[in-house]
Amino acid sequence: MSDSCRSGQSSCCCSGNSCSVDSSCCCAQTEPWVTGSVDTPAGSVPIISTTLTRTDMFGAWKVRWGIGRMNYTIDSGLYAVGEPKADSPVLVSANYKLTFDTLRKELSGLDCWLLILDTKGVNVWCAAGKGTFGTDELVRQIEKTGLGAIVSHKRLILPQLGASGIDGTQVSRRTGFAVAFGPVRAGDIKQYLSSGNNASEEMRTVNFTAWDRLKLTPIEIVTAARQAVPAFAALFLLNLFAARPFELNTFIIYLGSALMGTFATPLLLPYIPVKMFAFKGGILGLLWGFAASAFFGFYSRAALLALFGYILISMSISAWYAMNFTGSSTYTSPSGVMKEMKIALPFISGAAAVGGVLLVLFHIFGL
């Protein structure tokens, strides 16, 4: 392994906390997934492994649950896969470690270059939307890494979903490198390369399978759990004045309705026969509210306020979290989401307000 810094890498750009541990500027060389280095006219380039270790998989699991999410980055710059030559293809990707791992495990047996843009640890599609996986950053990395001196051709292969941030025409005008947009999914890259850079319709289409949706639910649940803390703190305080204190059943109803919005709605998304996410969530929240109220015995004349209060609150909590899942979905337009919010927010806030008043009357005033 080379001791010298990677060419063009003038400052330390280590990810996460590794800077404080390793004072040299060659952090990438010490990453466990770096297996060696290859000498090029523009300096030494680290070779990366295409096999994921248990640490990589545990890291992926952790960020899905929101643990250490903000530090899950790798250094931007140029990497080598296999034994790339001057005529080997150049793939471009983002410096989110989850993205990087998803990509490199699909590159086994290939010889290619990997140009990683600094997207601040955000995946390609999201970063393209923000502009960090963008034309300027790509041009900057091409110049910084000296790519023009390393490869003999003038072609870059970008993930298709980077296209909302990168103007291929601009890139070729500014650097001479022509941009080809490859497939949406890393798993199709080998087929794309072996078919002479042709992507089928299927390879160009974004899906949103049950498994895709399931992978996104942990972070929704964690977010909802964080937001629930102040709500429960408020209930705890209210209990000091309550005629009928809030009990475990309130907690369970709340938990259930949050899970309806953050877990059940995403999973059942295409099977709930309305289009707006909030109404999908509202329906499941309504069902949960009915079921839980039956279980806790609110179907009585004495508990009528609680019955309606809990049903309304369940609906609004579930609808709210379901509506937030528009951001994780792959098929909602901003114009559509804006329209949905204009229609759904009055219902959500209205149901929450009326439900809240009913529960205050029932619990605090004992009506």
Partner: protein
């Protein structure tokens, strides 16, 4: 199972006079909204458009226009409080 979102809301527009039929928009569209017919791009699946802006950005002659952005409710809510454009800035997992 095909996902369907709200209809008749999308801002995607196409100026057929400018189009040179290069097909770049068809390559980059993640929902197969466009197709080339008789040497020109055509919007054939407008309701499936998510307004990501990839086609308009990569059109070499500016034939496509769309009010691009992120289809994310929490980003829109956040933009109401902070001012400015809604952006994918949730910091959570894959936010979009």
């Amino acid at each position: 199972m095909v996902h369907q979102y709200l209809e008749d809301v999308v801002t995607l527009e196409m100026d057929a006079k400018k189009c040179v039929g290069c097909g770049r928009c068809i390559d980059v569209c993640p929902h197969r909204v466009l197709t080339v017919m008789d040497g020109k791009a055509n919007i054939v699946n407008k309701n499936r458009c998510i307004e990501c802006g990839a086609c308009a950005l990569n059109c070499p002659v500016g034939a496509l226009s769309v009010d691009a952005g992120v289809g994310c409710a929490s980003a829109i809510v956040k933009s109401w409080f902070t001012g400015g454009e809604p952006s994918c800035d949730c910091g959570g997992g894959d936010c979009c």
